[in-house]
Amino acid sequence: MTAVAPVPLLTLDDISLSFKGVKAVTSISFAVATGEICALIGPNGAGKSSLLNVINGVYQAQSGSITYAGQTRHHMRPHQAAEGGIARTFQNIALFKGMSVLDNVLTGRNLKRRSTWIEQMLRIGRAGAEDDEQREHAERVIEFLRIHPWRHALVGKLSYGLQKRVELARALAAEPRLLLLDEPMAGMNAQEKLEMSQFIRDINRELGTTVVLIEHDIGVVMGLSDHVVVLDYGRKIGDGTPEQVRNNPEVIAAYLGTRRSQPARSQ
Amino acid sequence: MNHRTSLRRVALALALLGSGLASAVQAANEQYFPLQSYRVGPYAAGGTGFFGGFIDYMQYVNANGGVNGVKLTWSECETEYVVEKGVECYERLKGGLNGAPAAATNPLSVGIAYATLERSTADKLPLITINHGRTDSTDGSVFPYVFPLQLNPYSEVSAIVNYIGQRDGGIATLKGKKIAVLYHGSPYGKETNSVLETLAKNYGFELTTLEVPHPGNEQQSQWLNIRRLKPDWVILRGWGVMNPVALKSAQKVGYPVDHIIGNIWSNSEEDVIPAGAAAKGFISITTHPSGTDFPVLKGIQKDVPDKGQGNLADAKRFGTVYYNLGVVNGILNVEALRIAQAKFGEKPLTGEQVRWGFEHLDLDDARLQALGAKGLVQPLKLSCADHEGGGAVRFQQWDGQRWNLISDWVQADRGLLRPIIEASAAQYAKEKGITPRDCSKEQ
């Protein structure tokens, strides 16, 4: 994987999504270049999470299309997204609470398996060697994110910050091309945020993974990202480098709240 | 996968069981009846009555000196009418009690009887299925240890058909009649359908069979069908809650209840009382009358309940159908024991010896008179080839308060049924690789 290339990895074209007539996202288009860190920002209810859900197929957009790695689709299915190398974390941690850290990370690698369940059940064929391979890779991810002391602990019993990291580890284990992070630093203190930013940057630099993230902390966003897309109220109101966005009057207005007041839909 | 905890439990269970089982050392002068009773669950009403009657009769026998001095003893094991509990009870109790050998098992449950049928044969312990059980076990040459005493399911329907013919003026009048059979949606309920078809062909009546799904608490569509069909008679092969619901639903569609004939599991007070007024006029078969007027019941009343030892929780049920069936069952078991003792000596006998007694059971009117059970028990003669013996029923009608007998003994057409039974038994023998006994060589 090379550094920034002019070809976009992901392009959203005119995406609209509504729930029972309530519009969550209205004709949004933007592109994410290969290798960049792109941040989606905007107030609560701006449609950021919905957009991530559209990208990896949890929600199906009513109109518009998604072009990912050269393939254009109207709907993305979750497994198509996963097979195409899109991994993600969730705003409200969606770990498998009844499993250990290691098992959670290993599930992230489920697409890298070649042996069938029958081979694995009978412990024949490729199963054994593959087990070791999977385990080694998972251990590398665990080391990378420094969660090895908790490897055998049940994730349900870990602290919030650690759970966020385990979730990231699970996403990373899939060796993704595109990583979607939904508020990876929510609820963290300054120290933890710093660590997490560092992890994200390392992932981007060392593994060459393209990252799309949602974050509220503007300071963190501006420092971390190459590209910022601003949403408000389901529409795109800004798109550009951190510098460009910072000077966009519409964005300033939205953040200062001079627009019509409207009860925000909680995400 | 570690068994340690379970093993610890097992050890504990073993210790506890030991206190109940392992003391089979000194031989007492007692004959033991293992009772796989059921006093709770959906069929508790039948179980409490039957086992109440059986136990009271045994107490009565003991109060009068036992069987030639051999006292009867028993213990109960609750099955809740559940097959595997019945099997567990069978295995637990089959070895006897405190040295008293087991005489026979009387589960009064089709499922348990089936599940213990092969075990009984292997263990040489007679299995008594009075009025029910596996029809082809009537053929004792294939089923030496199984006794569907008095009445097997085929005889039951045959007798009902004969009764209908009789009532309407002879068996020839059946031609062109419409008879509907409402049966419980289970193997028990279906068992007689094929025989009914044979009978329908033989006598020329038009047969409709209607299934009621288990448990039978909703029968509207079946009765609407009956209303459309307008059959001359409805035969009810019910079970548990299905019976009162059938009577109530009949009332709903305006079918005359006195043209419904209940079979052997639709003939008790418990089957009609819940239907209230709707049951008035309902006819059913019985192998024995209810009531308390028989000398043997008076004897039991005097020696058992009057002394405060009655087994029934509800004394009002003394003399009801299930109670009396228990008494009848007691009489048959004890008589078989007596006959076997005449051959093998007046001492506790093994199951194998008791089996011989059952096979040579011969109760004529004189003997029944002596027992104070004339009219209560039908004359019965068993043999190697015939483990049923009777095959006759009487008909009774519910008047809202009690059952009144409305017919004399009506005999099943056993000659017609015998070849079907033999064919079925032969098929079983073939499947199981059993060589049937040659009954002409038995004695």
Binding site: - | G41, A44, S221, N225, G254
Partner: protein, 293 residues
Amino acid sequence: MEFFFEVLIGGLLAGVMYSLVAIGFVLIYKASGVFNFAQGAMVLFAALTFVSLLERGLPFWGAFLVTLTSMVVLALLIERAVLRPLVNRPPIILFMATLGLSYMIEGLAQALWGAQVHGLELGIPDEPLEIHGMLISQFDLFAAGTAALLVIVLSFLFNRTRIGLSLRAVADDPLASLAVGIRLPRIWAVVWAAAGFVGLVAGLLWGARLGVQFSLSLVVLKALPVLIIGGFSSIGGAIVGGLIIGAAEKIAEIYLGPIIGSGIENWVPYVLALVFLLVRPAGLFGERAIERV
């Protein structure tokens, strides 16, 4: 054609009987999100207690009041001992707890009152009425009337009283209602008591229909497809679901039975419910929740 209508009407009336049991489920589901398998056992318990008291010489209303009181006490106990400790657990766990509960109540009912079969006469005539050559059961009409009355009483309770308002708030959003000071345990207790009352009414009517005995608790199996079709959270849905199931199973038994074999009433409602589920996963009147991630 006449016969068809007779079947249809009979089926609809039988369906009302199923609805009666289903309403009890809906109440509890609305308030606490529990699919209460023990409702059948509660019907049995109520009917058995009532009939046993009657047989011990209590007058009708006396027995009714005592039974109702015991149902309320039972409801309070359940709230205390089962629901409260299990709050915030997955619905499947709660469901399994009600399975255990149903065992307990069945065992308790029979331990207290014995296993005998009882007849129960409510004094409602059951000679069929003949209308245009169709026979219609008076008893079933009475039961339908009772169900209608019950629905009216319950909707009054929920739409016009404070407690009803709180209940609806709880059903909409338990967390928010907790925040505005609604006391969940009290709501639960009230709802379980109301479900006990519904169980008593259903127990009396079913008991009069079948006789009071163990298999009363099996009516729960008839109510489940009704709930699926009507949706778990709508009393109106329970009624409509009951009507659909009742009519469908009778028509199937009579017109389909001769073709594929009779005795299909046990599974037809389930297959029907399954088809409904695949088409409308939240039932006729329920709304499908949007999953948020």
